[in-house]
């Protein structure tokens, strides 16, 4: 039975699931409930962070154009351009044992592609969630539904995995940003030319 989290809640991931090795982070959303006629493209991205809370190297920013990071311990399985259908819209695979020791946190984000030009924001997105499941067997371990907390934002830090001693924990962050992916990159110490 998956643990359902509210914003700000933290739970043990590996401690309560001993032997857990490969996890999949699934992110989902529904868009265009009133069909404004514009394409609505949401992107999941991952920031792999050191102790300072910043990205050390641009290779540790995993997104549709750079689908692997943390020495291939983190793999983005690809872009979904419409958000159509049930289930996860995008997925990221994480091999916990292979994450380099200098990685402290892995932040999972969702941004709206070209939000400003398309006049879109998270007010038009419904049923956004993140879930964590065991790649082996597919058992869902953690789920966080984002609910109605977002409106004018164009980027959300949905959740993060972080080290706690020898274990990994999960934090349902749910913090919104204006300014899309660019604002997130700046927040995590990447300059986008």
């Amino acid at each position: 039975m998956a643990v359902s989290l509210s914003k700000g809640q933290k739970v043990d991931l590996t401690k309560t699931n001993p032997g857990l090795k490969n996890i999949v982070i699934g992110l989902g959303w529904d868009t265009n409930k009133y069909d404004g006629g514009q394409d609505f493209d949401l992107d999941a991205s991952v920031f792999i962070l050191g102790t300072t809370g910043k990205v050390k190297d641009e290779k540790d920013f995993v997104f549709y154009n750079n689908p692997k990071g943390a020495q291939d311990a983190v793999v983005h399985t690809g872009d979904n351009r419409s958000g159509v259908g049930d289930g996860d819209d995008e997925q990221i695979k994480v091999d916990l044992a292979r994450i380099p020791a200098d990685v402290e946190k892995i932040a999972f984000t969702i941004t709206i592609h070209d939000a400003e030009a398309r006049k879109q924001n998270f007010g038009q997105v419904a049923n956004a969630y993140v879930r964590v499941f065991n790649e082996e067997g597919g058992t869902e371990l953690i789920r966080y539904d984002l609910g109605e907390d977002f409106s004018v934002e164009t980027a959300i830090v949905v959740a993060e995995l972080y080290r706690n001693g020898a274990e990994w924990k999960f934090n349902a962050i749910g913090s919104g940003f204006k300014g899309g992916l660019g604002a997130l990159c700046a927040n995590f110490g990447l300059s986008v030319a």
């Binding site: 409930k33 009133y34 404004g36 006629g37 998270f122 007010g123 038009q124 109605e148 409106s151």
Partner: protein, 201 residues
Amino acid sequence: MAISLQKGQKIDLTKGNAGLSELVVGLGWDPVEQAGGGFLSGLFGGKKAEFDCDASVLLLDANGKITNKDNIIFFRNLKSPCGSVVHLGDNRTGGGDGDDEQILIQLNKVPSDIHKIVFVVNIYDCQNRKQDFGMISNAFIRVVNKADMKEITRYNLTENYAGKTALIVGEVYRHQGEWKFGALGESTQDVSLSTLVGKYS
């Protein structure tokens, strides 16, 4: 003091406001004076077509669908079958200050299978008259508590809607046992209410 919303924002209506039972939803717009007008165009351009915007209300179920065509409230069907939603009538010019069209909603009489009450505006006969929402300014929607006529919230539509002929302005919707209002501000190129409605059928 009414709360002013931006596109995408949502606000609680009934939560923390338990006495709220009847709403007046007002919609307004002004036709923009077309450039190149004036005395001569009045002489040679012929009579300008009137600009007739119509506000309509769609009552949707939990899946966002219209299950009964009588749940489309517009100038030819001013009252929902349940009686909870009443359109106060058509305004054919958009002239004057204040609300151009108004809708009354009795929240506690809305049937439980209705989850969303969506407010749309389209331009009557827009194809023949070659009109679109780029020719409209100061469009807004506001929600008023009928008991004291105080404005609860307001959303001014500030985008340029040139080329668009239908606006999905806002929605009053159920959320966890309460009613909320969302500022939608979506636009489409549907040329009539029936094509717009087709998307929810």
